[in-house]
């Protein structure tokens, strides 16, 4: 009983995390940049949607405008900051620190504008509870999260494998050098990639706070877990990232049954470190 409810909760949070992981891996696989500021884009999406709803915009419009804002921010960071740094052949460490600086800027602007309080984010239907199989209770927000996340995952798969832009992106990701020589224009592709991933991460960025409230400094831990999911799943695998995000969240939730709660996050990272020692390529690594 308890286990079943924990399992279902794990699927919900896992799916949201899965989209964060998919969006992050999209960027990392193509640009090889560890875009920590992505956590800032994720956080900002929620706040923008909240503001718009407060001003009377209907929910779907608020979501679309928030996604547009995220896209703009992400593309800005890529085009203005990362591209410039790459042109000067900056090392990954330099870019990482620039990204950390950007994250600090975004988080503190949000904290200054919206205060550091945990803001309440509700829609009229968001707390409505539905009971499904075996006495498991889930809110409509939780169910929506699963539906949207799975839908987004399917959408990304379709985009990556069936559209021309998607194929171009995969090409650039798999062989940047060759992409440079052909007419693929990797730099422009990088901007498209970050733009697309930023719009994508706005979805959990809005759905998760709907369940748990908005806070300006809360984006880093999910991003870190998502990164682990990405790497454990095999960096270039979209499915790997999504599935592993759910697996890791389940491990954290279900481990509560056996070990005290303080240790559940520690255990996750411990398992990951072991992973890195014995199977660094990840579970779903594509055969090259």
């Amino acid at each position: 009983m308890l286990a079943l409810q924990l399992l279902c909760n794990g699927i919900v949070t896992g799916c949201a995390l899965g989209i964060v992981a998919v969006s992050f891996s999209f960027i990392y696989a193509t640009t090889k940049i560890f875009h920590v500021a992505h956590a800032g884009v994720y956080t900002m999406g929620g706040y923008i949607a909240w503001s718009l709803l407060g001003h009377g915009f209907p929910a779907p419009i608020a979501l679309l405008i928030a996604m547009a804002a995220c896209t703009a921010l992400g593309s800005l960071i890529q085009a203005v900051l990362y591209a410039r740094l790459e042109q000067r052949s900056a090392t990954h460490l330099v870019i990482l620190i620039a990204s950390l600086g950007t994250l600090a800027v975004i988080q503190n602007i949000l904290a200054a504008v919206y205060t550091a309080n945990i803001l309440r984010f509700d829609l009229p239907w968001s707390s409505h509870v539905v009971t499904i199989v075996g006495n498991v209770r889930l809110t409509l927000t939780q169910l929506t999260t699963v539906a949207v996340s799975v839908g987004a995952y399917a959408g990304v798969m379709w985009f990556a494998h069936r559209t021309i832009l998607g194929k171009q992106i995969r090409a650039v990701a798999s062989n940047p050098f060759l992409a440079e020589i052909t007419r693929l224009r990797p730099r422009r592709v990088h901007v498209y990639v970050v733009a697309f991933a930023s719009a994508l991460v706005c979805l959990p960025g809005v759905l998760v706070p709907l369940d748990f409230g908005l806070q300006p400094y809360g984006g880093v831990t999910p991003l870190l877990t998502a990164t682990i999911a990405m790497i454990a799943g095999g960096v270039v695998s979209i499915t790997g990232a999504f599935v592993l995000a759910i697996v890791i969240t389940e491990l954290q939730n279900l481990s509560l049954l056996f070990i005290p709660g303080e240790w559940s996050i520690g255990v996750t990272f411990f398992i990951f470190v072991i992973f890195m020692l014995f199977r660094p390529k990840g579970l779903f690594a594509a055969a090259r």
Partner: protein
């Protein structure tokens, strides 16, 4: 003859310097978390202090002298606090510093003793604070005091099987340890306990695990995310009693229907409506608990300062400390009485009903 003259000039010059120094603004310090996870509360505390000081200055200051508060951001970290403390003590020579959060306050306590600087805490409640330093004065009861009161009430109400939900940091753990000690002492049993991370608002796994132990009451020791906890408690369809301390007094949580029936101790600190309205107009937000706490503490300090200056004594930490205990009783937003380093205050038992926090029993914290 000449050297006597030189002495006299020296003495005069010294007196002049001292009086000029006195004619400067009076400076006090405040070391609070203004950024980072504690900023939510730290900002409230800062506003409380500023509100009180601005009002005093608008009325002409204390004894004709303006008050200035030097705010330092410690991000709730002890090492930042120590640096800020030394800076305020050495460079700005403040006699008194406002502090918040248990960790930083405990870290600064030995320094306060050594340098004889009065540390006023109006927000943290760890039990160790009561005896950390003769110069550390707490204007609100320790968690232990509150837990004793709520435990007795719950047992009296027939709720003897308890489970603890606590935040895994200094404040939350202090509350957890007190529940583990005082709830059984009052006649109850602790069935289980679950931690959550500060700032992390997914309480469902912890709530579910606690529910599995089938308690009659859940004893809560968290400082952030209370509303989210209440909402998730309701969504999961749980129905044991939920009990806590003053940390429960979050307006959003009180107003939300999911907190119906939550019971808690409450340090009775109310703001007269006119004052609350004035605050809201100035800062654009409600005058919440920590605002009132620090406003009250600032008023207390202003009273001490006023009396010291009236008696012609120097404004040093030692003098302020002695004067505070000499006065002993203060009437601000709430009556404060100092029989020890921790104030004795009125303490109520409140229940959240119909969107309001209703007092059902009046008690005291000693």
């Amino acid at each position: 003859m000449l050297h006597l003259l030189r002495r006299a000039i020296g003495a005069l010059a010294f007196m002049l310097v001292v009086t000029i120094a006195h004619a400067d603004t009076i400076r006090f310090g405040a070391i609070l978390p203004l950024t980072g996870p504690g900023a939510m509360i730290g900002t409230q505390q800062m506003r409380g202090i500023r509100f009180a000081v601005d009002k005093a200055n608008a009325a002409g200051g204390v004894h004709g002298e303006k008050i200035e508060i030097l705010f330092e951001d410690n991000q709730a970290k002890p090492d930042q606090s120590i640096l800020s403390f030394n800076k305020l003590a050495d460079l700005q020579k403040v006699p008194m510093i406002f502090t918040a959060y248990s960790g930083p306050s405990l870290a600064m306590a030995p320094l306060a003793t050594r340098k004889k600087i009065l540390l006023i805490n109006a927000g943290a409640q760890a039990d160790k604070l009561a005896t950390a330093s003769p110069y550390l004065v707490n204007t609100l009861p320790t968690i232990g005091d509150e837990v004793k009161v709520i435990s007795k009430y719950l047992i009296g109400d027939g709720k003897t099987q308890g489970a603890i939900l606590f935040e895994n940091d200094a404040a939350g753990i202090a509350g957890r340890d007190d529940f583990v000690k005082y709830f059984p002492e009052a006649g109850g049993t602790i069935l289980s306990q679950e931690p959550t991370q500060f700032g992390q608002t997914d309480f469902r796994p912890a709530l579910l695990k606690l529910a599995d132990a089938k308690p009659q009451v859940m004893l809560v020791s968290i400082t952030a995310g209370l509303l989210q906890m209440a909402q998730q408690y309701k969504q999961l369809g749980l129905n044991f009693t939920v009990a806590g301390t003053t940390f429960f007094a979050d307006p959003d949580t009180v107003a939300d229907p999911s907190s119906e029936g939550f019971v808690h101790t409450q340090v009775r600190i109310d703001a007269p409506p006119a004052l609350a309205a004035e605050f809201k107009e100035k800062f654009g937000v409600e005058m919440e608990f920590f605002v009132r706490q620090y406003y009250n503490a600032t008023q207390m300090i202003l009273t001490v300062t006023d009396k010291l200056l009236a008696e012609g004594k120097a404004l040093t930490g030692e003098n302020m400390h002695d004067e505070l205990f000499a006065i002993g009783k203060f009437q601000g937003l709430i009556p404060l009485e100092f029989k020890s380093n921790t104030a004795t205050v009125p303490l109520d038992i409140n229940v959240m009903r119909g969107g309001k926090d209703v007092t059902i029993k009046r008690m005291s914290s000693d």
